[in-house]
Structure formats: structure tokens, C-alpha cells
């Protein structure tokens, strides 16, 4: 083909949708003012109210299993028909030993399944969704499970410690004629932008401070959202809901405003003030909160962001099947309400920040 492509829209030959979805958020909460109490004597602004903290016996594997079970409860399908179990995270328990095989086995999807772990900072979950759309949409598989889940670690005393949190969501993708919400099209935008990184032998990540803003988060989300809407011929006014990656409260509000969305469109999916930044689970768990209340015909725009950097953008519309499935598993607001406040010392203990050896 000598002509440039008319469109960069990613659209499979068969329509694909979300057949089941499920969130998981652990119960512990560390208020941002408690972090400030320890590190700044209470001075300074707080980027969120509080963040979700995983308990001592939880990890990305256990959390992914619960989210996957919620997704399966809503999907009402035979797990042996799942042909891919893909888990995206930046806190896989092992550097070598996949999370996905343990999750696949726990939910009864093994052995006739593809299993893989994905990684790309905060967008490791949505890239698994993107690939799953292709897997299902090509006819290779009837169902594929894509999960974004994290137990994000913040360096003690660093600005990110206020927000680095635990949680995520699982999405079972399948044929559009079984779906609760159908993908109209998707798009991905990637550049080599080193805003946030962690070397393999380091415990905590490093970041470029203000460089993580305009050249990183904002640039990629704006480009991805605008390209997707342009190629679909849609505008912000066409969507009832929009969900962005949520590293703090201000960034998604600001990028939404820059794109032309109104606060009420962002509100339902904006969970970061009360659960923190759950990294690879962030945009995906925001979407679960939207799906819990969305109605048939509603259009939803989802745009993730992963440092390093890239954004995956998806446009969906809700089908008649959703209302009846919403209540079949624990809703996201119920997970949020299930709350046990802890202090900084307990958090340090639970998250292994006290070196005992």
C-alpha cells in the first residue's frame, strides 16, 4: 500500500466485548495525613485522602484470583473455555515464575490456556486487555482474561508514598454477542520517555519529578484520547463516562478538562482520592466502578497511562446484559467501604519496610 493508513484505529475483525468484570481492593487504609504526620510534621498539601494497603498475606497473585473470581461470577461461563490468562503488574511476586499460571490454575482455566505476565508500569493491565481484544477478535479464542493488579511500593519519605497503593481489576473478554459492554475500537500511543523507572536490583523506583507531568502523563493521554476519538468520529460529549489512569486526584481532573470532559463524566471512575494509585490496576478498577452503575447505551472512554511511556485507549458502549450482572459479585464501592484504618507503623510492618535482619 503506497498510501498512508487512513486510520490508526485498532479494531478486530470480529467485535469483542467485556463478558465479565471484577475488582479487588484490600481492606486496609493509610490516610495521607498519617504519612504527612510521620514525614513532614503534618505540613504540606495532601494529594489524596487515603490509600489502600494490602495485608501481610496478600500479593498480586491472591488479589488477582479474587478479582478473576468476581469477573467469572458476572460472566457465568465455564472457566475451561478461557484460552488466555494474562496478568499485568509492576509488582509480580517473582522476577521469574509467572503470576498468571497460579491465577489460571486457581480459577480452573488450566491446562488448555495461554498464560503470560505483562509489564509496563501502570499500563500493564490495559495492554493485556488490548492484546486480549486481538486474541478474541481474531477468532483464536472465545474468552481471554486480562488482569491489571498491583501492590505499589513507595520509597519511605518520597512524594509517591502518599499514593502508591494496592488493588486492581480483572476483565473477561469474549464475543460481542455475549458482552456486557462492547469495544468500539481502541488505540495505543507509545514513546521512549523515561519519566519513572526501577532497575531490577532496586527495591524502589525513581522518577523525574516534574518531568512525569506534561511530557509524560499529559502528552500520552492527550495524544491517545484525541487519536481514538478522531478515528471513531466521537467527541467528549458522546461519552457518559471517562476513566483515566489516576496517579493522584489532580492529574486526571486536569487532563479531562484539557480534553473537553466535564467533572461529572470523570467523577464515577475517579477512585484515587480514597484508594490511592493502584498502578496497573488504576484505570481498570476505575472502569469497574463505572460498570457497576452504567446503563445500556452508555458510552465509556478509558485511557490508561504507563511510564516509559504509553497510553492505551478504549471506547466502549454498554449493552442490555449489564444491569442483570452488576450485582453478581462484590461492587467496587463495597470494596471501598470495607475499610480498616491503619497507622504508619502498621503499614511499615505489613509492607515489609522494617528490616529485621
Amino acid at each position: 500500500m503506497s498510501d498512508a493508513p487512513r486510520t490508526r484505529l485498532l479494531k478486530p475483525t470480529r467485535d469483542v466485548g467485556i463478558v465479565g468484570y471484577g475488582a479487588y481492593i484490600p481492606q486496609y487504609r493509610l490516610p495521607a495525613k498519617e504519612v504527612a504526620r510521620v514525614w513532614t510534621g503534618g505540613a504540606g498539601g495532601l494529594p489524596i485522602k487515603e490509600k489502600a494497603v494490602a495485608g501481610q498475606d496478600e500479593d498480586v497473585i491472591t488479589m488477582s484470583i479474587e478479582a478473576a473470581r468476581n469477573a467469572l461470577a458476572r460472566a457465568d461461563i465455564d472457566p475451561t473455555e478461557i484460552r488466555a490468562v494474562w496478568v499485568g503488574s509492576e509488582s509480580h511476586p517473582y522476577a521469574v515464575k509467572p503470576t498468571s499460571t497460579i491465577v489460571a490454575e486457581a480459577i480452573g482455566a488450566t491446562p488448555h490456556t495461554q498464560a503470560a505476565d505483562w509489564e509496563f508500569a501502570c499500563k500493564a493491565g490495559t495492554e493485556a486487555v488490548q492484546a486480549a481484544i486481538g486474541f478474541v477478535g481474531s477468532g483464536m479464542a472465545r474468552y481471554a482474561l486480562a488482569i491489571g493488579m498491583d501492590i505499589a511500593q513507595g520509597r519511605p519519605g518520597d512524594a509517591l508514598e502518599y499514593t502508591a497503593a494496592a488493588g486492581g481489576a480483572a476483565y473477561l473478554l469474549g464475543p460481542a454477542d455475549e458482552a456486557l459492554a462492547i469495544f468500539e475500537g481502541s488505540y495505543s500511543y507509545s514513546t521512549d520517555t523515561p519519566d519513572f523507572w526501577r532497575r531490577a536490583d532496586e527495591k524502589y523506583p525513581e522518577h523525574g519529578e516534574r518531568f512525569t507531568g506534561e511530557p509524560a502523563y499529559f502528552k500520552h493521554i492527550l495524544e491517545a484520547a484525541q487519536a481514538l476519538m478522531h478515528d471513531l468520529g466521537s467527541t467528549p460529549a458522546d461519552y457518559r463516562f471517562v476513566v483515566f489512569h489516576q496517579p493522584n486526584t489532580k492529574f486526571p481532573q486536569r487532563v479531562g478538562k484539557q480534553l473537553g470532559f466535564k467533572p461529572e463524566q470523570i467523577q464515577t471512575g475517579l477512585l484515587v482520592p480514597v484508594i490511592g494509585n493502584v498502578y496497573a490496576g488504576s484505570a481498570l478498577v476505575g472502569l469497574t466502578a463505572v460498570l457497576d452503575v452504567a446503563e445500556p447505551g452508555d458510552r465509556i472512554l478509558l485511557v490508561s497511562y504507563g511510564s516509559g511511556a504509553g497510553s492505551d485507549a478504549f471506547s466502549l458502549h454498554v449493552t442490555e446484559r449489564l444491569p442483570e450482572r452488576q450485582g453478581r459479585a462484590r461492587k467496587t464501592q463495597d470494596y471501598i467501604a470495607r475499610r480498616t484504618e491503619i497507622d504508619y507503623a502498621t503499614y511499615a510492618r505489613y509492607r515489609g519496610k522494617l528490616t529485621l535482619k
Binding site: A43, G44, E209, R210, F211, E214
Partner: protein
Amino acid sequence: MEPTSLPAEVYVAGVGLTPVGEHWNTSLRELALEAIRAARQDAGGLRPQALYAANMLAPALSGQTHLGVLLADFAGLRGIEASSFEAAGASGGVALRQAYLAVRSGLIDIALVIGVEKVTDRVGASVHAALAMAGDSDHEAVQGLTPAAQAGLLMRRYLHEYQAPADALAGFSLTAHANAVHNSNAFLRGAVSLEEYRQAPRDSDPLNVYDAAPLADGAAALILARREVLAASADRPLIRVAGSSVAIGALALHDQPDLLGLSAAEESARRAFHQAGVTPEEIDLFELHDAYSIYAALALEASGFAGRGQGWRLAAEGQIGLQARIPVATFGGSKARGETGGATGVYQAAEVVLQVQGRAGANQVPGAEVGMAQCLGGAGATASTHIFAAVKP
């Protein structure tokens, strides 16, 4: 070049400046080149015989010393004289002083001053550590005394000694931001309200974040020349460097006998006024040092625009706006146009020149003919003052 028998008066042939901002994708040398090209174009293409670079952070943040040759070479000016000058925040004024002396001596016809700072080559603690080098390393920086802390101490003393209200210095910030709204080269373009100032989080108490200028990247250039080499231009007045000075005081805050006196600024201003044959009343605008709002108040007092302890009143009583008695930060100052370390002194000078040439656009001080620029290094340890005057035809 034969030296002339009488010292040559010095004129401004052209100015150039880049927008101030976080230029993640632009290197130190590229930023400088932008400003140099703009200044040379403004000067009708004059080729300088000497380049005076002003910079304070390149060694620490960019791993780069030897800036004079780097910038001259990158600008296609091999073979000329070139060197870099550093006096912390006064680097710009000090480099301008050197260029002035060279042209004034008659030995250099055309001199280029290029101030450039690229602070975004690093983030985090290393930037703060580099900034603290402007103080006394062995006795201040090693104790953790940063520029913000020095300004905080001075502000606390000032408010106490003169029994000024907590928001006494707000006017400097508000005015700077209001002026930057119309400056497309400014880093921060939004206006700030008194309420926002009052609610702002503290930086180095009692200083709040609106008392502190944002550090960002930028480059500004000026070309000085003898009258004979300037092309005649009907569309703008000739600008003469009427006053030029540098003075130093004590480096460490604890060595200053009169903490709120800014003796170096007072001396530098006195010499510049004397040379130019003007008094503060005849100055139409003052681009003062406002890296921290306390320095703006102290500079007004030290330079004779207000009595001791009264500098804050000029701001509080609306006397520093574009139409007011003594306009300051006319393009936003360090507070809103942006604080560019060693380049700030050159931005100030360029902005004064634009004002007295009537080229300030929406930021024009009506009828400006004589303008003053003053930059400080450290807590006023070095001060450089320049006065530019439009030559009446």
C-alpha cells in the same frame, strides 16, 4: 584595533530571549543559540568580537564547565574572545559589566552577553544542593542553609523589625503574576489573588510558595556596541548604557553587619546612579531581583526607592504596577517570567531595553526612557546594577 583616546560610550545593538520554561527537549547549548541568534538578528546581523557567558549551574547540573568556548563555538563564532562569568544569581549582571568594560575601553567594538541556565538536566536534591553552593559552602551550605532558608530568615527579621503584616510582601508576587499574563515568554502566565497568597503553603516559614520564584530554563542575550558600528534605525530609539556597576559585600548571612541593609546593592546602585547622572526619581522602571519577594522589598530600599522598612509599602499600596510610580517586574520578574539563575540578570537587562525602546507591547510602561536592572548573587552578596537610557534624537 587601535584604542580610541576617549572612552567609548556603549550602546545596545540588539536583544534576544527565549521563553522561560521546562525545556526538557532542548540542551544548554541549543537554548543559548536561540537567544544568540535572536539578538544578532535584532542587531542587524552584527558579529561580536567577544562573548561573555553568564551561568551558575551548568557545572553542577549539566556536567559542563568551559561555557565561553562551548557557546561561542556552537554559535559559529570561533576565533573570538569568549569566557564565562559566575556570581550566582548576579552572573547576568556581572557578565554584562564585563562586556560593558570591554566596549567602553574602546578595545572591543561589539560584545555579546549570553545568559543561559538549564536547570532541568537534573531533578530533586541535586538541584537544591547546587543552589546552596551560592552561599558560604563551609559555613552555610554544610549546615543545610539553602537560598530559600536564607530568604526565610531575612523575611522573618524584616517582618519583625518593621512590624509588617504577614502578607506585607504579597504585592510583589501579585504584580509580577499580573504582568506575566501578557508576556508570552513567561513561565507562569496565570494571575494570582491575594487570597491565594494568604492560603499558600509555607516554603521556608514565613516565606510561602508565592514568595519564591520558580526555577526554570531560559536564555537571554544582549549585544553591546560602540555608536559607530550601529546601523541607523528609524523605528526605535538608540539605547545607551548610562550606568554599569558591580559591588560585593559579605558572602555569609552571619557576616553581614546590617542584615536588612543589602550593602552591595546600595553601593552598586549608588555607583550606577552617579555614573548615569540620575536619581531614583528619574528611573521609569526597575527590574529588581525578586527570586524571593523579600529581596524585592530590600532592593527597593537599598537602591533608594523607599526608606528603610518601607519597601513593602510600595507593593502593598499599588505603587509598583506598570502605570504606577515605580514599575517593577514589568514582564513578570523572576516570580512569573521565571527565575533562570545566571541568565536572570540578562533577562532583566533585555526587558529594560525593550521597555525604554517602546517595544514592550502589552507590558509597556508608558513613556519609559530610563530603566534600571539589578540582580543579586546569594543573599545580596554580589550586586550588579545597570541603567539604560533612550537617547533623545
